[in-house]
Amino acid sequence: GPLLERRLMDVRLRELPLWVTTRDFSPQALLRGAQRAWDSYYNKYINVKKGGPAGVSMLLAGYCFLSYAWNYQHIKRYRWRKYH
């Protein structure tokens, strides 16, 4: 179909920059996108009858990863070896 309505996974690699320019990057659209992402994650992993540790543990793992990434410049100073 037309480029505008395809989702990310259906876009070919060479059309990716063009596709990115067609997206709407206003704050409302970003918020809507974030809300939809959260809703799909929530409904898939948390809003079920018999959930498990998976739903929350993935969020915690993501949090750990993000906080490590944001503090990487500071942690880099405590390496054990200078040359790798």
Binding site: P27, Q28, L31, R32, A34, Q35, W38, Y42, K44, Y45, I46, N47, V48, K49, K50, G51, G52, P53, A54, G55, V56, S57, M58, A61, C64, Y68, I75, K76, Y78, R79, W80, R81, H84
Partner: protein
């Protein structure tokens, strides 16, 4: 199982992922009533969540790599990545690593050991809630069915209307008959009383006339007896008596 507790405890906290500053913007722009109305009851929650391996990596990732690398692909990728991060010290081993290892081991031990019990407990709570709702629904259904039975019975009773009215008509006819006969009797009695009166009057009159006539006749007879006739009659009586006494002796 943790998610079950989280679901019960603080869904609001998890839902408010967008920053609170832009909540107003979000409400203003969220489209309302765009999907067609769901008049039927909401679809039930799915039984199990999406598959996740080792609690961290969704199953879709393994399926994504399976055609090209087979079953061990993702594990090789994971091992390679870990070794790469460690050797190049993109991941630095420090005190936080030790803390993370301790925390993670305790967490995993706790989850493995107490997970099923907590899950059963949360399930039991859910079941009780559902059972209560079901009980309410069943009660109202039973109440309504009983009302339907009552209604059918009333409809059946309506068919007996004709008998009821016949009986009532009979009652009224009997009442009228009884009343009529009472009045007839009253009329008869009244008329009889008046006729008896007339008869009694006539009898009385005749009797009075008779008495009066007898008295008058007696009085005139007594008056007509002169004293001389009296003496003669007495002398005759004495002679008669003497004659009688003689024959008797």
């Amino acid at each position: 199982m943790l998610s079950r507790l989280v679901l019960r405890a603080a869904p609001a906290a998890l839902r408010s992922l967008p920053p609170p500053v832009t909540v107003g913007v979000l409400h203003a722009t969220r489209p309302l009533h765009t999907s067609k109305q769901h008049l039927a009851p909401l679809p039930p929650l799915p039984e199990k969540g999406g598959e996740v391996r080792h609690g961290l990596i969704p199953e879709e990732f393994f399926q994504f790599l399976y055609p090209k690398t087979g079953v061990t692909g993702p594990y090789m990728l994971g091992t390679g990545l870990i070794l790469y991060f460690l050797s190049k010290e993109i991941y630095v081993v420090n005190h936080e690593t030790v803390a993370a290892v301790c925390i993670l081991s305790i967490l995993i031990y706790g989850i493995k050991k107490f997970g099923p019990d907590v899950a059963a407990f949360a399930d039991k709570l859910n079941e009780e809630k559902l059972a209560k709702a079901q009980a309410v629904k069943n009660e109202s259904i039973e109440g309504l069915e009983a009302a339907i039975e009552q209604e059918k019975k009333e409809q059946w009773r309506v068919e007996g209307r004709s008998y009821l009215f016949d009986a009532k008509r009979n009652n009224i006819a009997m009442l009228l008959e009884a009343n009529y006969r009472e009045r007839l009797l009253t009329v008869y009695n009244e008329v009889k009383k008046r006729l008896d009166y007339q008869v009694a009057m006539q009898n009385l009159k005749r009797q009075k006339e008779q008495d009066h006539m007898i008295q008058w006749v007696e009085k005139s007879v007594v008056q007509s007896i002169t004293p001389q006739q009296q003496k003669e009659s007495i002398a005759k009586c004495i002679l008669d008596l003497k004659a009688l006494s003689k024959t008797a002796q």
